[in-house]
């Protein structure tokens, strides 16, 4: 019979193990290179140095990777929010011919895994001349079946009285969308924004395929370029990894409920 103490110990021990790679990553980013080989079993640096944090911006195009990630993740999140909410509004509040078909198509698309479209998308993006460009990275993700579906469900849950009142007053649909529905949807919109931003900030395969030149790569695809047969320097890559997770980590610690709720919502739908 497991006592409460045993459960607590197991849980905290597990948390330590799970967090270990992050702790090692940060600690390692302050280690001078020889220490990796001399003291592989010690966690903390013996003679810490912040040199890697300066080096990472100078010796690899890290600043460019960071910028690309911001533009890519931010661009997709913003654009997707606009397009998805517009479409969701139409599906939830308006009547039009082909409405049901549209909804079913959205559902079907949700079920197709990304790898199917990866190869033809590469071809299309290439034919449009958008390889190695922000257009090629962002526009194919401008809309998202998941976002449309999630927002539609959310909009359906908003009581109709407010928009009916506005309609009677002669407001256009777009005004209702902008002034009534959107303000009431802040939790769903911010959750979706976080979801999209996080997903694309961390995404690897898509930028790997669409960008081949270092100056267009995002953080994951860019940093891993320098990891191969000949590793540049361990602390440098670890510093890069630490900087990469920092924005999301800070966002997470500030808005934990949003992050976690977003995940739980996708589970319970």
């Amino acid at each position: 019979m497991l006592g409460s103490a045993a459960i607590h110990i197991a849980l905290y021990l597990g948390a330590v193990v799970v967090l270990l790679p992050f702790v090692w990553m940060v600690a390692g980013s302050f280690k001078p290179e020889p220490e990796f080989f001399q003291h592989p079993d010690t966690l903390l640096p013996v003679a810490p140095t912040a040199a890697a944090y300066a080096d990472v911006w100078r010796r690899i195009p890290f600043g460019r990777f960071f910028l690309n990630s911001v533009v890519f993740a931010g661009g997709v999140a913003c654009l997707s929010l606009v397009l998805d909410s517009l479409a969701a509004y139409a599906l939830a509040r308006l009547r039009f011919r082909g409405q049901n078909l549209a909804f079913w198509v959205v559902l079907l698309v949700l079920m197709v895994p990304f790898q199917i479209t990866l190869v033809p998308l590469y071809l299309t993006v290439s034919q449009l001349g958008w390889l190695n460009s922000f257009a090629g990275l962002i526009l194919p993700r401008a809309t998202n079946a998941f976002g449309i579906f999630m927002l539609r469900q959310f909009f359906l849950g908003i009581p109709r009285d407010l928009d009916e009142a506005a309609r009677i007053d002669g407001a256009s649909e777009f005004t209702i969308y902008r002034k009534v529905i959107l303000p009431l949807s802040k939790p769903a919109l911010s959750t979706l924004f976080i979801f999209h931003f996080m997903y694309n900030w961390n995404d690897f395969l898509w930028p790997l395929v669409i960008t081949t030149t270092p100056d267009m790569r995002t953080l994951p695809a860019g940093l891993t370029l320098f990891m191969g047969q000949h590793v540049i320097e361990h602390a440098l890559l670890l510093a890069g990894a630490t900087i990469t997770i920092l924005p999301l980590l800070i966002g997470f610690l500030l808005a934990q409920r949003q992050f976690v709720r977003g995940v739980a919502i996708t589970g319970l739908k």
């Binding site: 390692g28 961390n202 690897f204 589970g267």
Partner: protein
């Protein structure tokens, strides 16, 4: 006022265009491409019908990728789900510092798998990594984890479990909180043990959530790519090459887009079959 155009079409137009151009049409294209020998640079793209699929069946490297993917899913899956379930059940009780613990297990979920795979690759390195160093202190040999076929697969599986554990845990926690406390109280009064409560209240109450977690875990495992590409590139000796890494190799290293498309369709088929099977399996269990 005579309205010409239903405004709904304006709302839905941008999304519709983007979806059609960048998702629906590519799906059609993917199927079309799989029926051709479609090399990126080549002038001719001969129609080969089922040729790519026939080649697939006779391609030992495809079967290797399939086997590796299945092994990855079957070995990792139970841990991804079972461990998450244990964690969720434990965290559902009276735990001091529950918020901290929940966040701690969740942090891998918000990190980039490809980037953390760099960190993990270092951790598994026999010369500089903690894993080897600490095992060596216990008197065990220093293994070059990522350079031996068996251990390399183990390593990428471990990373996969590490990444998804918190996600599954959070969803299962939410599901647990949906089970009414009275059920447990009534069972206590009836003298049921904790294990019996777990079997007869918790598990049935979690049925929907468990189904969801299992389905998405399996689908995600079947699509494993990031940590494999970064840590082993599918090696050593193709022992960690999964279906998606093979698609990447054929499509973006050998530029045989038609063949790569065929492989991705087979992957899709597997995903659909397994998902349907799981849904049926859970529905059958619901009867008893």
């Amino acid at each position: 006022m005579h309205r010409r155009l239903n405004p709904a079409y304006l709302f839905i137009a941008p999304s519709a265009v983007a979806l059609i151009v960048f998702t629906i049409w590519p799906i059609v294209q993917a199927f079309w491409m799989s029926l051709h020998e479609w090399s990126f640079m080549a002038q001719e793209r001969p129609f080969v019908g089922a040729g790519n699929y026939q080649e697939l069946v006779g391609d030992p490297r495809f079967w290797n990728a399939l086997r590796n993917t299945v092994v990855y899913t079957i070995v990792g899956g139970p841990f991804q789900i079972g461990l998450a379930l244990l964690l969720a059940v434990a965290l559902n009780g009276k735990i001091r510092g529950r918020a901290f613990l929940r966040s701690a297990y969740f942090i891998p979920v918000i990190s980039s798998l490809a980037i953390m795979a760099i960190v993990w690759a270092f951790l598994f390195d026999p010369d500089i990594g903690l894993v080897s160093a600490w095992l060596a202190e216990l008197g065990l040999p220093r293994i070059a984890w990522l350079r031996e076929p068996g251990t390399a697969m183990l390593a990428v599986i471990v990373v996969g479990i590490w990444k998804t554990l918190g996600f599954n845990m959070v969803i299962l926690l939410a599901g647990l909180q949906g089970i009414p406390a009275e059920h447990y109280e009534a069972a206590e009064i009836d003298g049921a043990s904790r294990w019996q409560q777990f079997l007869h209240i918790t598990i049935p109450g979690l049925r929907q959530t468990l189904l969801f977690v299992t389905v998405i875990s399996v689908i995600a495992s079947l699509q494993a790519f990031d940590q494999i590409y970064v840590m082993t590139r599918g090696g050593p000796l193709f022992s960690t090459e999964t279906l998606v890494s093979y698609v990447y190799r054929q499509g973006f290293e050998l530029f045989r887009l038609g063949y790569a498309s065929a492989i991705s369709w087979v992957l899709f088929l597997i995903i659909v079959v397994l998902a349907v099977f799981q849904l049926r399996f859970f529905r059958y269990r619901e009867v008893d």
